[in-house]
C-alpha cells in the first residue's frame, strides 16, 4: 500500500465525499433507472473481489427493504454471466427458468419475470452489475433501450468506482499507526477539519515542511 496512487489517495482522504454521499448517488441511479424504464425494481451489485461475491449496494422498488448487503456467488446466475462476459443481457419470461426462480425466491422473496442486466465497467475492471427488473411487457424491447441501459451502466460504474475509492481511502486513514500512507492520510484529514486561524496555520506549516523536504 505504498504506491504513488496510495499516497495521492491518502492526501485526498479529507476532501473526498463520504460513503454516505456515494451511496446516495447509487440510490439515485437505481431510482432513475427504475423510473425511466417503468420497471418494478432496479438494483446495483458490487463485485467483492476478495470473496468473489456480488453484494447488493442499492435497491429501488421491490426488495429495497431486505436486499442491501445480501451476497451471491459471482460464479453463477445471470449476473455472474454478465459480469464475466462483459456483455449486457435482457431476459423476459424468467419464470421458465425454475432453478433461477427457486434460488432467487429463497434469497430475496421476489421472483422477477424479466431482467435487464448490464456490467459496470470502469477502465479495465468489471466493478459490478446493474439490474432493471420487470419492465412493462406490453412493449417489445428495442435496441434504443439497450443503448440507454448501457449509458446508465456507465454512470453507475463511475459512481461505484467513487464509492470503492472512498472506502479504500477510509481504510488508509484508519490504517495502522506507523504506516507512512496512513500518517499522510491522517494529516490531510486533520488539516481539512481545522477552521479559520488554525487551518491557516496548519496549511502554513505544511508548506514549510514541503519546502524543507524538496
Amino acid at each position: 500500500m505504498n504506491g504513488d496512487g496510495d499516497l495521492r489517495d491518502a492526501v485526498s482522504a479529507g476532501v473526498l465525499g463520504s460513503e454516505a454521499d456515494y451511496r446516495a448517488l447509487l440510490q439515485s441511479i437505481v431510482e432513475v433507472a427504475r423510473s425511466i424504464f417503468g420497471a418494478k425494481a432496479s438494483s446495483l451489485m458490487l463485485l467483492d473481489e476478495e470473496a468473489d461475491e456480488l453484494v447488493f449496494e442499492a435497491v429501488a422498488g421491490e426488495g429495497s427493504d431486505t436486499l442491501i448487503g445480501q451476497r451471491f456467488p459471482s460464479s453463477t446466475g445471470i449476473g455472474g454471466w454478465v459480469l464475466v462476459t462483459r456483455q449486457p443481457l435482457v431476459i423476459e419470461d424468467l419464470r421458465q427458468d425454475p432453478r433461477f426462480s427457486r434460488t432467487t425466491a429463497e434469497r430475496t422473496g421476489y421472483v422477477p419475470e424479466g431482467m435487464m442486466c448490464v456490467p459496470l465497467l470502469h477502465e479495465e475492471r468489471a466493478l459490478g452489475v446493474l439490474y432493471v427488473l420487470d419492465r412493462p411487457q406490453n412493449a417489445k424491447f428495442t435496441l434504443a433501450e439497450m443503448d440507454l441501459l448501457g449509458l446508465f451502466g456507465n454512470q453507475a460504474a463511475i459512481a461505484l468506482q467513487l464509492l470503492q475509492r472512498a472506502r479504500r481511502v477510509r481504510a488508509l486513514v484508519e490504517g495502522e499507526e506507523g504506516d507512512d500512507v496512513s500518517a499522510v492520510a491522517r494529516l490531510a484529514e486533520t488539516v481539512d477539519k481545522l477552521e479559520d486561524d488554525r487551518r491557516a496555520a496548519g496549511v502554513q506549516l505544511i508548506k514549510a515542511i514541503d519546502k524543507i523536504l524538496r
Binding site: 460464479s75 445471470i78 464475466v84 462483459r86 456483455q87 449486457p88 427458468d97 435496441l143 448501457g150
Partner: protein, 279 residues
C-alpha cells in the same frame, strides 16, 4: 470445385513463392459470377462441421438443441496448468444452451461441442477464458462461437495471438461485439468475425457493416431461445446475434469445406442482406 487438401500440396516456403511453384497453389474452386445465398449455403444443413460453444455449458438433450457431440469444462490447476475435464454439470446459466439452440436451428446437423469457461467465479475468469480458447483452437474446430469478451488489456496480446492462430489454422472465431463504449477483446481483432445486433425478426437476415470495427449485424433482439431446465425464454443481446452468424458460417462451410476464414468472410460479405439483394 474442390481444392486439393493442404497436406497434398507439400510444404511451401513460409514467406515466399519460388519460381514455378505458382501452379501448386492454384485455387481450383470455381467461384460463380455472382455469389448468391443459394450458391453459398442453399440446401446445406451444417453436416460435417464442428462448432464449439465457448460459454456457460450446454444442457444435453434440450428439445431445441438435441444431442451434442461433447462437453468439457475448463479450469486452472494449482500450478497454473490448464485442466480440461468432462463436463457433467450441463449449463450453469442457460446462455450456452441458448447459443446451441440458435446454431442448431440454422445448421441442424452441425456437430456441437460445449467448452465451459464459466462457473468458477468472476475473479480469475480471464485466465480460464484464455485457456479455454487456446484448448478449443488446438482441437481444430471449424467454428468457435464466443459470446464473451474481456476488458483486461493484459490479455489483449495473448488473445490477439490466439485469434490470429485460429485464423491461420482455418478455425473461424465468431465473437460478440460490445454495445458499450469500452475497449474489449477479442471482437475488435480483424482476424475474427465480430457481430452486433439488428432489430429485425428474421434469423437469416444479416448485414455487413461498412463502418467497422463491428463487421456484421445478426438477429439479437426479442428472440425466443432455449434455456436450462428444458425451457425457453425471450432474450436480447449481442451474445445471441453471434450464434446466428456462427450458424450461417457452419452452413457455408458444410457446403464449401475448402474455404479459409478470409474466403468465408468474403462469402458472408457478398451474401449479406444489404449487399446481395437476394436475402
Amino acid at each position: 470445385m474442390s481444392e486439393p487438401e493442404r497436406a497434398d500440396r507439400g510444404p511451401l516456403p513460409a514467406w515466399s513463392l519460388p519460381l514455378g511453384d505458382s501452379e501448386r497453389i492454384r485455387i481450383q474452386m470455381q467461384w460463380p459470377e455472382q455469389v448468391t445465398r443459394e450458391w453459398a449455403y442453399g440446401g446445406a444443413d451444417g453436416e460435417g462441421v464442428r462448432v464449439c460453444i465457448l460459454d456457460s455449458g450446454v444442457e444435453p438433450g434440450h428439445p431445441l438443441v438435441g444431442e451434442i457431440a461433447g462437453a468439457k469444462v475448463v479450469s486452472i490447476g494449482e500450478e497454473g496448468e490448464t485442466l480440461v475435464e468432462d463436463d457433467t454439470e450441463g449449463d450453469v446459466v442457460g446462455h450456452g444452451t441458448a447459443c446451441a439452440g440458435i446454431i442448431h436451428m440454422l445448421a441442424p446437423k452441425a456437430e456441437l461441442y460445449s467448452v465451459r469457461v464459466l462457473g468458477s467465479g468472476a475473479t480469475g475468469s480471464g485466465p480460464v477464458l484464455l485457456a479455454g480458447l487456446r484448448w478449443a483452437i488446438d482441437q481444430e474446430y471449424d467454428v468457435i462461437n464466443m459470446s464473451l469478451s474481456t476488458t483486461k488489456s493484459q490479455f489483449a496480446g495473448v488473445l490477439h495471438e490466439l485469434a490470429d492462430s485460429a485464423y491461420f489454422r482455418r478455425t473461424v472465431l465468431v465473437a460478440s461485439a460490445h454495445n458499450m463504449p469500452v475497449e474489449s477483446y477479442p471482437w475488435r481483432f480483424s482476424s475474427v468475425i465480430s457481430v452486433g445486433s439488428h432489430e429485425e425478426d428474421d434469423s437469416r437476415a444479416f448485414f455487413y457493416n461498412p463502418d467497422p470495427p463491428v463487421e456484421f449485424f445478426a438477429r439479437g433482439v426479442n428472440l425466443d431461445v432455449a434455456w436450462r431446465g428444458g425451457g425457453q425464454i425471450r432474450a436480447t443481446g449481442n451474445s445471441f446475434a453471434t450464434p446466428h452468424l456462427a450458424g450461417i458460417c457452419a452452413l457455408v462451410l458444410s457446403k464449401h469445406r475448402e474455404l479459409t476464414p478470409f474466403q468465408l468472410k468474403n462469402v458472408l460479405y457478398l451474401t449479406a442482406s444489404n449487399v446481395a439483394g437476394d436475402a
